[in-house]
């Protein structure tokens, strides 16, 4: 319950912004903020696109068509939604505990490496193992690789209190360089004509399509990862809201001092949460290479791990809201590809929109907690 006066400008300035905390937070505000943020983000983005000499209407039409214009487009949007759900859930779990894991991108790459390494080399050695068994093994390996990668910054945080923002981020670059090394040197497909690619994985190991999506076109590429994502969302929801562990994560995130006071084990939870967070991102990477790309290559993610951060934030860390937001951002990514194809704009343009939307959400958040009043300074 606080009120304060904030002066804008120097003493002579006759107006000031007064920020007052609301006692009750109207429901409509929290519902409308994300929607409005996306709209405003897109509008501001249009302005920037226009300033760069591209017709924003044409650009957005192309984007909308690319994302929702056809059954195939819808399928592609779902395809991009998959890694976003998985990585987004991971990020949101860490954020719930105020652990700033912004290393989902790297954890995703490590998941991809583990999956790719197994798919490329092990089945020949163990022909007796059934393909569906490989599927289980590869999924587990993807999870484990992401988890282990996240445990590096996790352990540094838990035991040495090293800032996890920087370490998770640095490891993103390292993980991507690992992929680059593998696809350029040891795992490079001799038949790739010099391109940084591995051989294509054996077909029977590809992640099967999600059943029941026949209403999309028969050619759709929506793989089992979607199911994994939805299952993960539900599980996470149940565990986070109902389990003792979820309660601890919640309390640690809200007030670490109180958690310590209450006898909760913080270091242990940091490790657990980082492992699950990274593991989910690892599964995202696994699913992307096993379900879509079917090989390892330079560039396996258009920044899914970073987009996941925004999704987590927009979904207010709610595991069941998150898939919906992920779908919207999946659309945004597909639309971004479309921009590149039809208008020659860089894919990174979707980062502009993402950044803008995030700013508007942050601003909007405040409006839901405070009211802003601009008033004259009495003299």
């Amino acid at each position: 319950m606080t009120v304060e006066d904030m002066k804008v400008g120097r003493g002579g300035f006759p107006w000031r912004i007064r920020v007052e905390q609301r006692l009750v937070r109207p429901r409509w505000v929290s519902a409308i903020v994300p929607v409005l943020s996306i709209v405003l983000g897109l509008l501001t983005g249009a302005l920037l696109i226009w300033a760069n000499g591209v017709d924003p209407v044409a650009a957005y039409v192309a984007m909308a068509k690319g994302a929702f214009g056809s059954k195939y487009a819808l399928g592609e949007t779902l395809v991009k939604t998959i890694p976003l759900i998985l990585a987004g859930l991971g990020v949101s779990l860490a954020f719930r505990m105020q652990l700033w894991n912004i290393g989902a991108e790297g954890q995703l790459h490590m998941g991809a490496i583990a999956a790719g390494g197994i798919a490329l080399f092990l089945p020949q050695k163990f022909p007796q193992i059934q393909p569906w068994m490989w599927l289980v093994i590869i999924t587990a390996a993807g999870f484990a690789a992401g988890a282990l990668w996240a445990l590096i910054p996790g352990a540094l945080k838990a035991y040495l209190n090293v800032n996890e923002i920087i370490t998770t981020l640095m490891l993103n670059y390292v993980a991507i360089l690992w992929v680059d090394y593998l696809v350029n040197v040891p795992w490079k497909d001799p038949a790739s004509l010099g391109f940084p690619l591995t051989a294509v994985f054996p077909r029977e190991l590809w992640l099967p399509r999600t059943p029941g999506l026949f209403f999309l076109t028969p050619r759709h590429r929506v793989h089992l990862g979607l199911l994994f994502g939805i299952i993960a969302a539900i599980l996470l929801y149940v565990f986070v809201t109902r389990s003792k562990w979820g309660f601890e994560v919640d309390v640690i995130g809200r007030n670490q001092k109180a958690a310590r006071y209450a006898g909760m084990r913080i270091a242990r939870n940091v490790l657990i949460v980082m492992a699950i967070s990274g593991g989910l991102a690892g599964v995202a990477g696994m699913a992307e290479v096993m379900g879509i790309i079917h090989r390892l290559q330079h560039q396996i993610s258009p920044g899914y791990g970073y987009t996941a951060i925004i999704i987590a934030w927009l979904a207010k860390l709610h595991p069941l809201v998150l898939p919906v937001v992920a779908f919207l951002f999946g659309a945004l990514l597909v639309a971004g590809d479309q921009l590149q194809i039809s208008m020659g704009l860089p894919v990174a343009v979707s980062f502009i929109l993402q950044g803008l939307i995030l700013f508007f959400v942050l601003g909007g958040e405040i409006l839901s907690y405070y009211t802003l009043r601009i008033e004259r300074v009495s003299s």
Partner: protein, 507 residues
């Protein structure tokens, strides 16, 4: 005052200040003469600090006017106020811990404009120290100073800026009885030189001892202004609380049992890495309250943390019911039946953004069966606890931060006492609470005592310690200076608080 035609230094007219949901100042009129020591008396929450924050430019009034020496002034910031000679020593000092005394004193001034001439400032500070008898090293860092010394820095800061009107917000809370006397001498000297002192307090005795006039504030309104010489304690108490105050503590006579909490030669470091506990030994028995008196900052906080598992000790032993729990961590202490009413209620004692049910089960969730929690059942239990402990809350689903200070403390008591603790560590349990909540908290502590708990009561309020405890130990600079019975004279305890050992060491 009488006889001479004293000028009115401060006049505040019809001051109104609202906070969301609270009318902190309701058309307050207040005035003080030049050269006067004017006390502002009122219960916690009466609006004293708010009123003076307005006078010192920190808050802007929603309505009302301020006149200094007859001239209307409008303050947009503390800087404006100090430019008009109004300085305030806040209850929580406004000093940058990592800066030196001199740096703090010149903070915010515009001269010298760019380059710092600390040597010159230090010289001027020493001159002021001389003049008003305020001893402190200008080159020391704030974190190295005791709270009493920090208070001197605050006063020097105001004087350095040429304050003519000095506001002191509850200045005695951090001082030993002897230091209080020294402060009074300084304040009187300043008043004689024409400074106006506004002295905020909720303690009747000290107001009567220092003030020329007293203005009483209750629930944001002025109840009246009286001459200190004419006033009686009873009259002031009635004006302050609004009813006859019959504060009496009914202490059931019980026989203490066997020692439950045993502390031996305990050592620990403070956050700064300097020794805060230098070999502390004591024990608390079943059905007994052991009071710890002392000015804060003498190791009490560290002591409470070590014996609840929140701080590592560097030596010594802590035993609960014979079980050695030294450095065993908070969980082990909780499991052994040690309850903790922490010093920092809001930041340690509760999770402000969490609902009351969660706050009530902050520790107990572990003892519930299974891996999953049954929130519905927990909510019912929470409702019952809230009722039983008189926590004023619409329902268990509201966030804890929406509760008032008194209700937050009752919430903590509900959680800590519902587990039927063997040991209770209560740190400043009534600080900042209003009379009603204070009474309730004390009652609950005594109730626990009757039910057999061993209670360690750490408090700055000497009256409270004396009223509740069965035995008292006094801490000074990380050591126990001695043990006294609760009816020992205040002067004797005061000497111990100041570090003077009596012959024949106790504890």
């Amino acid at each position: 005052m009488e006889g001479e035609t004293a000028r009115i230094a401060v006049e505040m007219r019809n001051i109104v200040k609202r906070f969301p949901g609270v009318l902190a100042n309701d058309h307050v009129n207040f005035s003080a003469y030049e050269g006067e020591i004017h006390a502002l008396l009122g219960e916690n929450g009466a609006g004293k600090t708010t009123l003076m924050n307005i006078l010192s430019g920190l808050y802007r009034p929603d309505e009302g006017e301020i006149y200094l020496y007859g001239r209307r002034v409008v303050f947009n910031s503390p800087r404006d106020a100090i430019a008009h000679g109004v300085g305030m020593v806040h209850q929580h000092f406004k000093l940058v811990e990592t800066h030196t005394v001199a740096e703090n004193i010149i903070l915010g001034l515009d001269k010298p404009r760019f380059f710092l001439n600390l040597a010159e400032a230090e010289q001027e500070i020493r001159r002021l120290e001389e003049q008003y008898g305020l001893k402190v090293d200008p080159q020391a860092y704030i974190w190295q100073l005791s709270l009493g010394e920090q208070q001197r820095v605050e006063i020097l800061k105001a004087l350095y800026r040429g304050a003519r009107i000095l506001i002191m917000d509850e200045p005695t809370a951090v001082l030993t009885p002897q230091e209080v006397e020294e402060l009074f001498v300084t304040l009187r000297r300043m008043a004689r030189e024409g400074h106006t002192i506004i002295f905020i307090s909720h303690k009747l005795d000290e107001v009567l001892a220092i003030a020329d006039r007293i203005t009483i504030l209750r629930k944001g309104r002025v109840v009246g202004t009286v001459e200190a010489q004419m006033a009686t304690k009873e009259e002031l108490a009635r004006m302050m609380v609004g009813r006859e105050v019959l504060f009496h503590i009914e202490k059931e006579p019980v026989e203490p049992g066997a020692p439950v909490l045993e502390v031996q030669g305990l050592r620990a470091l403070s956050d700064r890495g300097v020794p805060a506990l230098k070999g502390v030994t004591f024990h608390v028995r079943e059905r007994e309250i052991l009071g710890v008196a002392g000015v804060s900052g003498n190791g009490q906080s560290e002591l409470a943390e070590v014996i609840t598992g929140l701080r590592e000790s560097t030596g010594g032993r802590v035993r609960v019911n014979g079980q050695d729990l030294t450095n065993a961590g908070a969980r082990a202490f909780i499991d052994a039946g040690v309850s903790h009413i922490p010093e920092d209620r809001v930041h340690v004692g509760i999770v402000p953004s969490l609902h009351l049910t969660g706050n009530l089960f902050l520790k107990a969730y572990r003892r519930l069966p299974g891996f999953f929690l049954n929130w519905k059942q927990m909510r019912e239990k929470a409702k019952e606890l809230l009722r039983h402990f008189d926590v004023m809350a619409p329902n268990p689903d509201v966030e804890a931060r929406t509760l008032s200070g008194g209700n937050i403390q009752k919430l903590i008591l509900a959680r800590e006492f519902s587990s039927r603790p063997a040991v209770v560590i209560a740190v400043h349990p009534t600080q900042g609470l209003d009379v009603g909540a204070t009474e309730a908290v004390r009652q609950r502590l005594l109730e626990q005592r009757s039910q057999g708990a061993a209670i360690l009561l750490i408090s700055e309020d000497l009256e409270e310690v004396r009223a509740l405890s069965d035995r008292i130990i006094v801490m000074y600079e990380g050591e126990i200076m001695g043990e006294v019975p609760p009816d020992a004279p205040v002067e004797e305890i005061g000497l111990l608080m100041a570090g003077t050992r009596l012959e024949g060491r106790g504890a």
